[in-house]
Symmetry: C2
Subunit: 315 residues, 2 copies
């Protein structure tokens, strides 16, 4: 069994290959070719922590992947990252463990940002120039970098409750060659941006209906468990197209959940990202309001782990 540490994972990860693999994962998921295990969950209230356990397998693959991901929210006070975890690559032919990727949560962060990138690229208007980012966490920075690069956007605007944090992110993005600045209000961000990504664990809407202009494109990645929400549910009612990574999971705890449960949105209106990627010919009108709601799927873990594993196996 190969034991792979974070530095080796980072060195082996080809971003373009991983994005292509994750897009293929969404297509296979929506085609019904992916088995997901029931998500396991343990809680550690004494340490303000939790652990999620996800397994997934794409029919016909030689390998499957189990991921353990922990979040312990007092860790930063101890000089540790809140997120940790690992992925195990197992043989789908013999059940043998093949590789342990000690990614410390990094691959989860990257595969989440890559899903946002894939959605953004599929729904953005031709000629888009400005990316708006809401939030100041790891996802805000990663989504900004991946989306701006992959979609060829010239500028990045960042808003966060913590203005110092959004200024710091903007500076770091400028340091690596992006044109980025923080803005003081969500309204200003919505008015100016061609496409927006929301990345916060907010439990109350940050973008309100009157901020959403014709042609708005929003990728929402923050709502990953029940009760989280970044958009006023009426925005979803107003949307011309709602893209979801997985229908049932988004209805259960995604950004669309409240809107579907309250009857504002007909669940039949939801279009899976994998189906939209498969339907390459489907065009989206420039003035359409389009929302993508991403809650995270085990197939993303499989695809990014496979990308790393195959590169390492080839060496």
């Amino acid at each position: 069994m190969k034991i792979v540490n974070l530095a080796e994972i980072e060195a082996a990860l080809d971003e373009d290959q991983a994005i292509a693999a994750i897009a293929e994962g969404f297509r296979r998921f929506s085609a019904g070719d992916v088995q997901l295990s029931a998500v396991g969950h343990l809680e550690f209230p004494g340490s303000d922590g939790d652990c999620h356990i996800k397994g997934a397998y794409i029919v016909g693959d030689d390998v499957f992947v189990i991921k353990l991901a922990t979040g312990f929210y007092q860790n930063p006070g101890k000089g540790l990252s809140s997120c940790n975890g690992l992925m195990v690559v197992m043989s789908a032919k013999t059940g043998e463990p093949l590789a342990l990727l000690l990614d410390e949560g990094h691959l989860t962060n990257v595969r989440t940002a890559m899903a946002g990138t894939i959605a953004a690229k599929r729904i953005m208007r031709p000629g888009s120039r400005i990316l708006g980012v809401i939030g100041t966490g790891i996802q805000a920075e990663l989504q900004a970098r991946f989306i701006a690069k992959s979609c060829g956007l010239a500028s990045i605007l960042i808003w966060g409750r913590n203005h110092e944090a959004s200024t710091a992110i903007a500076k770091r993005l400028c340091d690596v060659g992006f044109d980025a600045r923080s803005v003081s209000g969500v309204g200003e961000l919505c008015q100016t941006s061609d496409i927006i990504v929301t990345t916060t664990p907010s439990r109350a809407p940050l973008i309100m209906t009157d901020m959403v202009k014709a042609g708005a494109r929003i990728v929402a990645v923050g709502a990953d468990s029940p009760g989280k929400c970044e958009l006023d549910p009426h925005i979803l009612a107003k949307a011309d197209l709602i893209v979801v990574d997985a229908k049932q999971q988004c209805i259960d705890h995604g950004e669309v959940s409240a809107a579907v449960i309250s009857g504002l949105v007909d669940p039949d209106k939801l279009v899976e990202l994998g189906a939209l990627l498969e339907d390459e010919g489907k065009s989206i009108a420039d003035e359409a309001i389009v929302i993508a709601d991403l809650t995270g799927l085990g197939v993303q873990d499989v695809q990014i782990a496979k990308t790393v594993w195959r590169r390492l196996s080839a060496n």
Copy 2:
């Protein structure tokens, strides 16, 4: 993170400590102190294989444990064991992975045999001498060794559909100092044995009601998923005491499942092993028919992994 291979695990495993830890795990489970994650499951029909994912945490512990266990039933034809897997010991304080136990399924086999041993010791009649074993797989041999040793039984009788296999097990047990022989019928085995352990994946009863004498003690460990059954359900109706590792899980897919669902057994009659271990003073009449139904709990994995991990950490 410590990576521990099978030879190191075997060297570090103190059997008496592990049995005591697993008994304590059952007590803590029945006291409501154990969190179990939803069991994850993936299937690989093309390779006749499956994977189970279990996580568990005992409140107050410093660590928790996630187990991956695979069964690929064509492996023996490739010169590989059907069972494989690993356990991950994680910090319950920070979420960091602490140790990877590459046990290849060995700890699962051992913890299952130890649960049988704990149940057998608690329910056996004083003065018992003869252990009857039904089955010829890994569990048959392990249960025979652990129960006979731990309960101080003088002789072992083995019955299996495959007479060559039961003869081979008997020989191997004799080679390591036990008095063991195979028998040609289940009826003979039931008539002669003081306590019986059933270890097969049978889907039809092997022990019938008329084979069960007054004072019979049976530990059934084979039924670990829906549809499996080794005892005629009427035996459960006739039993004076039914012990289960976990009430709800046994009703769902244990040996008692059919008897409860058909109304032969009142679920209120089931007594959890942890509760029976806690109630040391409760005596069982010599003539009572007692059945123990063990389906396997994540807390057994936690306790055996902790036993190994603590020994390794102390070195």
